[in-house]
Amino acid sequence: MSRLQNPARLVQPEYAIQALGQFHLGMRYTAKTTQREPSIELEQSGIATAMLATASFYFDLQETKEEIKVIRILADKLMIDVQEIGDRIDRSASGFCTFITSLGVPGVSLKKPIPVTIRSCDDGFIASFLDANISIGGDTLADAVSSLQDMIADSFNDLEDADDSTLWPPMLRQKQALLDVVCRI
């Protein structure tokens, strides 16, 4: 209310300027807003206080509306963040272990089922045969497992006949782990 007492300070909102401008013109006074608020017509007697009160009311109302808009935007953002955090928790908690019993590649076969660890990541799944330190990702769970089967077969073909002296310890361990579970047919 106090900010409306001095017209010189009323730079905005526009409705407040209009209300005071019409007050100075006299006779009949109209307080209007430019924000689709209802117009209010007042008689000359005691008009100043009522006019200022009306302008103040709309001024506060406008501020409140702006604040509500900001709160709504923040609430929407918060909802999206919460959803994303929930999705991340779901994904990170969804690792599991299973077995594969075949490689699906001609010429090689598994001697026994091998344990495969599958976990989700940002945009897909990662399948791992931990004994051999072989891991690969895929867009879908089936894609990841299929790629792991290919990689196991491929690594076996690559390492089966490799001389041990040409392998650093991790690759040697991989070769031994693969020879334990993969064979030619």
Binding site: C121, D122, D123, G124, I126, S128, N133, I134, S135, I136, G137, G138, D139, D143, S147, D150, M151, D154, S155, D158, L159, A162, S165, T166, L167, W168, P169, P170, M171
Partner: protein
């Protein structure tokens, strides 16, 4: 932030292929093969095979490749640093040597 993207995976391969360690150390040899939906990167050091990893064909540049650090014997953050040039070729060899994976100066 330490998630590896396809771009990072490509950068690691490029760095291993082109990187020159200090005198007295050998360079990495990198062999690339395309098979299935992946490009397979085989890495050798000092004439011995060290690691192998796959880069997905056709995936987005920022698609996650979080399986790669373990395949090249680095932690997530080390692999990220390696891709972003915070870790040098010499630094990579030092880490491998510290983990007793390779000899620092193979004969």
């Amino acid at each position: 932030m330490s998630n590896l993207t396809k771009d990072d995976a490509e950068e690691i391969a490029r760095k291993l292929r082109r990187g020159r360690p200090t005198i007295g150390r050998q360079r990495f040899e990198v062999v690339e093969q395309s098979r299935g939906g992946y490009r397979w990167i085989s890495i050798s050091y000092g004439g011995r095979r060290l690691a192998r990893y796959g880069i997905k064909h056709g995936s987005r540049r920022n698609a996650g490749h979080d399986w790669i650090p373990g395949q090249i014997h680095l932690s997530d953050s080390e692999a990220y640093d390696f891709a972003k040039c915070h870790l040098s070729i010499d630094g990579y060899i030092d880490i491998l040597a510290r983990k007793n994976i390779v000899a620092a100066r193979p004969t």
